[in-house]
């Protein structure tokens, strides 16, 4: 066999089975669909952010900006144009892509901590701006005005949208990483100058990854606030969104496609079991994050992968 192949492609069967089983249980389990919907959205956002942090090497502390932009765009177009909320998601994607390009241009020369802090500040500026804007209800927020929503099917509809988002995200990023472009991203992450020296265009590749991750978070945020029919700047632009994503990716394993699955599971298990114990959830969450950074800086799946080389979503090129 002379062609380049991906290592242990058989692992993909496991990956597809696992994701399929999770999706099926989300569909079939007789629980309130709000929780599975939120899990799908948070996982999608985490994978989007992982594409940027784990595969492109840009650590963003400001992705809550895109969640907010996505949600507000949806509410604005639905309330003013009277279109279907699900059509409005396309507007969320488009507007967030434009905002992402502007932010990317503003932070063009910033790397590492400068980028992380720069985007954090910009995200906060957006939150304050939206909070001052009377047309969208300033700090009071706004209610979705969509009279044609049928309350009996609405919960299911947003759940299906969330499930579609996470499945498309998981497999689209997987597919992207197996292309020349994906290999280029990882090279940029490891050494930008060396990447340029072997013909990879660092600036352009980085913007594409940044916009993709922004759009995923924006659509995720839009679906989430659509499900509650209300959005306010303090919630939609809350740094807490970013912290949740950060925890999930860091604990699960940045730069792996399996890590965010594990991180999401840990996050929601903790939250659901500790929801009646107030501050204990935050204490345990913080302790897990600290312990992971000390003993498994590459995350839990990163540890497994370093020991065994096993991938459920194979993205490594090998030669026989």
């Amino acid at each position: 066999m002379n062609g380049p192949v991906f290592s242990r492609n058989a692992g993909l069967i496991g990956g597809v089975l696992l994701v399929g089983a999770l999706a099926l249980s989300a569909i079939l389990l007789p629980v309130d669909r709000r929780l599975p919907m939120e899990i799908c959205l948070v996982l999608a956002m985490a994978q989007g952010w992982n594409l940027l942090c784990g595969y492109t090497g840009l650590l963003s502390f400001g992705h809550q900006a895109f969640i907010g932009v996505g949600a507000y765009t949806l509410f604005l177009v639905v309330n003013t144009l009277g279109i279907s909320p699900f059509l409005g998601l396309a507007f969320s994607a488009t507007v967030s892509a434009v905002v992402a390009v502007v932010i990317a241009l503003l932070l063009k020369g910033s790397r590492d901590a400068y980028f992380s802090i720069g985007i954090w500040v910009l995200a906060d500026c957006l939150r304050l701006l939206v909070g001052q804007w009377d047309f969208v209800g300033s700090s009071q927020g706004m209610v979705l005005n969509a009279p044609d929503i049928d309350p009996t099917t609405f919960g299911d509809a947003v759940f299906w949208a969330a499930l579609a988002l996470v499945l498309v995200t998981q497999f689209a990023i997987f597919g992207l990483l197996r292309t020349r472009f994906g290999l280029g991203l990882m090279a940029i992450r490891d050494n930008e100058t060396a990447a340029a020296s072997v013909g990879i265009a660092p600036g352009r590749s980085r913007i594409i990854a940044f916009v993709a991750s922004a759009v995923i978070c924006a659509v995720g945020g839009a679906i989430y606030y659509l499900s509650v029919l209300y959005v306010d700047p303090a919630g939609a632009f809350d740094l807490d969104w970013q912290i949740r994503i950060l925890f999930i990716v860091i604990v699960g394993g940045a730069g792996t496609l399996e890590g965010p699955l594990i991180g999401t599971a840990i996050y929601f298990l903790l939250r659901e079991f500790l929801q009646d114990h107030g501050g204990l959830f935050l204490i345990i969450q913080g302790a897990i994050a600290a312990l992971t950074m000390l003993f498994a800086p590459q995350g839990l799946w990163g540890l497994v992968q370093a020991r065994t080389g096993f991938q459920l979503f194979p993205t490594k090129w090998v030669t026989q």
């Binding site: 002379n2 062609g3 020349r180 100058t193 060396a194 072997v198 990879i200 090998v318």
Partner: protein, 240 residues
């Protein structure tokens, strides 16, 4: 293959590269020597597009590439091995070279794989192809740096002190690889290890304070009074 015409680069009032002109053709290996701070690495930066020059032009295969970025020049067949290896530590050895083969000559599928394997074979890394590149020892990292330069450098390869820090035996291995490289490419090699250059270089150019002060037959240049003076205290007999 590669021509430099009156390249000048200065930082403030300090001129680091001063009106340097030369050319190399396929099959040639141009050695560059000069004391620390002579502007050797800055000259490489000007050639591969990492810095923009104040004056002068770089031509690759007759085409003026002076305004092109580093990645655009790489795609035209200019490869570079850095003094301190810049390995993609999160990728395997195979992927380190494959990335260049896919982005430079833009090969795909089986052709990309075959080319990558051929390069790894030349560099003596084929048995370690699937190892994580971050786990390689120094000599192998230097070999990989060469292989990465080969992956895009189909026409010209710039080598920046790739033999530094290696044992005599390892230097010999690197020399053998460079001999293979120059057959169908032009090679420019900055090196302090005189005997390594003497073994492969077809010409040697001397830089001092950013200026080209000699360019010619290796033995003659190394024996010249000028070089003896610049490298005060180092005679070729000792070095070789």
């Amino acid at each position: 293959m590669l021509e430099a015409e009156g390249l000048c680069k200065s930082y403030g009032t300090k001129t680091v590269v001063d009106k340097v002109s030369f050319s190399v053709v396929q099959g040639e290996c141009l050695g560059i020597i000069g004391p620390n701070g002579a502007g050797k690495t800055t000259l490489f930066n000007a050639l591969d597009g990492t810095v923009s020059v104040n004056r002068g032009a770089v031509k690759l295969d007759g085409q003026d590439v002076s305004r092109l970025t580093q990645y655009e020049r790489a795609r035209l067949g200019l490869g570079r091995a850095y003094q301190v290896p810049r390995t993609f530590v999160g990728l395997s050895v195979f992927e380190n070279v494959l990335a260049g083969v896919m982005h430079g000559p833009r090969l795909r599928g089986a052709a990309a794989s075959a080319e990558t394997r051929a390069i790894l074979d030349t560099a003596g890394l084929l048995p370690k192809a699937n190892m994580p590149a971050g786990a390689l020892p120094l000599l192998d990292r230097k070999r990989l740096e060469l292989a990465k330069a080969m992956s895009v450098g189909t026409k010209v390869i710039l080598l920046d002190e790739i033999a530094g820090g290696l044992t005599e035996e390892e230097v010999h291995d690197i020399i053998e690889i460079v001999k293979v490289l120059k057959k169908d490419r032009a090679v420019i090699w900055i090196e302090h290890i005189a005997h390594a250059l003497m073994a492969v270089a077809t010409r040697i150019m001397v830089l001092n304070f950013g200026e080209k002060v000699a360019d010619g037959d290796p033995a003659e240049v190394m024996a010249s009074r000028l070089v003896q003076e610049i490298y005060l205290g180092i005679s070729i007999d000792d070095a070789a």
